[in-house]
């Protein structure tokens, strides 16, 4: 196995070396070819995917998980849009920095460079395979993609498409390698190769991300999951607070930027819950509210409603519900809300709803997260929506990149120093 891994790593490294510089027109061609070839080969991809789904069904995977494996024509549309967006972003992201004069002797500028060999580990979402074959590669990286064995056939079909697109664009085929060995020894062995892998991007279950973080010394770009809160101050417009709560959760309950627990000032907690259930009822949006015992239960509870109320438990603190459930916990004020977030939050996305601007400002000063949303939905936290560009994940790390992991986060740079013959000994020492 070690020889095979050495071969994989050597091929990926050689592909980075052989690839044209970041910003070369070949990468734009790759985006175009990938979109065209995905469309051309989509029936083959769907056939492979149908085999994967059938196999998973035979193994007894429940419908909700089968849905995660299944590709449809809607996914093709989504992936083609992504390739178009990445294509449009490339020129700006990969442009060399402007020359900046250094004293009277030279000029410095940044030149974009790839991170190198990127190892993406993920589970059973076939769209991630394409995202992984697109974003890192479009800026000059080689990528190793290890997806779940549940989508092995789909990934093999997608790998063939990516390789064909690379060759059509004039890029080395080994810029994309889909690892097809489900043996966990291969995963462990690759995680022990910081000499050959430059960055690790795990996407998937908490156990997988924890393992990658703990078992490897390769720099990791990872989301630590989204244990996210919204603090509702007594000055808040409660209608806005309720809408923000529902929009922060219901459209995509398992996403990492959803709200889990609303921390609501005691004096407005009952009014807030009444607004939440009224808004859910009005639009027929099913939601479960896990309510602390100190807050009166809303009137009209019972059969025939799209909402229901359950008791909030202590074990709900610091958890992601991963379904259409929102917790409501009354707090004495900003101090208690901040203390709760510091103890239980995952530093992913936090929010505050307050008409009092001083409160909102104090919240943003004291809370530390990849994004802090003031008077809005937590789901605004994603690269395209924030105008930051396409993203491959949202990072909760503190180094290199925090928040949306965009194309710009998948490159580094060289400082190019135009010295015009200057020697260090001739440059005056900087004043201390």
């Amino acid at each position: 196995m070690s020889e095979h891994i050495d071969d994989i790593l050597a091929s990926a490294r050689a592909a980075v070396a052989a690839a044209p510089p970041t910003g070369d027109p070949a990468y734009a061609r790759y985006c175009h070819e990938l979109a065209a070839l995905l469309a051309e080969h989509w029936p083959t991809v769907l056939k492979a995917n149908a085999d994967d789904v059938a196999h998973a069904e035979q193994r007894g995977l429940p419908p909700v998980l089968l849905d995660r494996l299944r590709l449809t024509d809607a996914h093709l549309d989504q992936l083609r849009r992504l390739t178009a967006t990445v294509h449009a972003e490339l020129a700006e992201v990969t442009a060399p920095g402007p020359g900046v004069p250094i004293g009277d002797w030279g000029v410095r500028r940044r030149a974009p460079k790839p991170l190198g060999v990127v190892f993406m580990v993920f589970e059973a979402r076939p769209t991630v395979t394409v995202e992984g074959a697109l974003l890192p590669v479009a800026v000059g990286n080689a990528v190793l993609l290890r997806g779940g064995k549940e989508i092995a056939r789909t990934n093999a079909a997608l790998a063939a498409v990516a390789r064909e697109a690379l060759e059509a664009a004039g890029l080395p085929a080994h810029l994309v390698t889909v690892l097809d060995d489900p043996d966990r020894r291969q995963l462990r062995a690759l995680l022990k190769r910081p000499d050959a892998v430059d960055v690790l991007v795990p996407r998937g279950s908490p156990s997988l991300i924890d393992y990658c973080r703990g078992a490897s010394s390769i720099p990791v770009i990872a989301s630590g999951g989204g244990v996210n809160h919204v603090y509702v101050h007594r000055s808040a417009d409660l209608t806005l607070a309720a809408e923000a709560a529902l929009d922060s959760k219901l459209p995509e309950p398992t996403a990492c930027n959803t709200a889990e627990l609303m921390l609501v000032d005691e004096s407005v907690a009952a009014g807030f819950v009444a607004e939440v259930v009224a808004a859910a009822e009005r639009d027929g949006r099913p939601v479960t509210v896990r309510l602390d015992a100190r807050v009166p239960r809303p009137e009209g509870e019972g059969e025939g409603h799209c909402w229901r109320v359950e008791a909030l438990q202590e074990h709900d603190f610091g958890r992601e519900f991963l379904d259409a459930t929102i917790g409501v916990y009354p707090v004495a004020g900003l101090d208690e809300a901040v203390a709760h977030i510091r103890r239980y939050g995952s530093a992913h996305t936090e929010g505050v709803i307050a008409a009092d601007t001083a409160v909102a400002e104090e919240f943003t000063r004291r809370v530390d997260a990849a994004a802090i949303v003031v008077n809005g939905s937590l789901r605004l936290h994603d690269g395209p929506t924030l105008g930051l560009g396409s993203e491959i994940s949202i990072s909760t790390g503190r180094m290199h990149v925090r928040g949306p992991v965009t194309l710009g986060a998948l490159i580094t740079h060289s400082w190019v120093v135009e010295a015009r013959g200057t020697l260090r000994s001739s440059v005056p020492a900087p004043r201390s």
């Binding site: 193994r59 007894g60 995977l61 429940p62 998980l65 995660r68 589970e123 059973a124 779940g148 549940e150 489900p182 043996d183 966990r184 995963l187 462990r188 998937g204 279950s205 908490p206 156990s207 997988l208 991300i209 924890d210 393992y211 078992a215 999951g225 244990v227 438990q313 074990h315 603190f317 610091g318 958890r319 992601e320 991963l322 239980y344």
Partner: protein, 92 residues
């Protein structure tokens, strides 16, 4: 045959892993053996098994069979503990 200490270690590790997988801030002692794997408290599904397997293998210093979870039905933490104990025994 595994010793009582092994069973305790497996129980502790399995509970630690299902807590992490369910994104809970609890201790292993907070989880009952009969707690459902997919219920009000825990949220464990088979797509997270790769991460769980490698964590368990590292924690327990064992190698578990690839097909450990295939064709088995388990509903509680206790079921998972028994599966891992059986897998650990087979691997020895």
């Amino acid at each position: 045959m595994l010793t009582g200490l092994d069973r305790a270690a497996v129980t502790e590790s399995v509970k630690r892993v299902v807590i992490a997988e369910s994104r809970l801030s609890l201790q292993p002692s907070d989880i009952a053996d009969h707690e459902p794997l997919s219920g009000e408290m825990l949220r464990v599904n088979s797509l997270g098994f790769v991460g769980m397997l490698v964590l368990l293998e590292d924690e327990l210093d064992i190698v578990l069979p690839d097909d450990l979870f295939v064709g088995r039905s388990f509903h509680t933490v206790q079921d998972l503990i028994e599966v891992v104990l059986a897998g650990a025994e087979v691997s020895r």
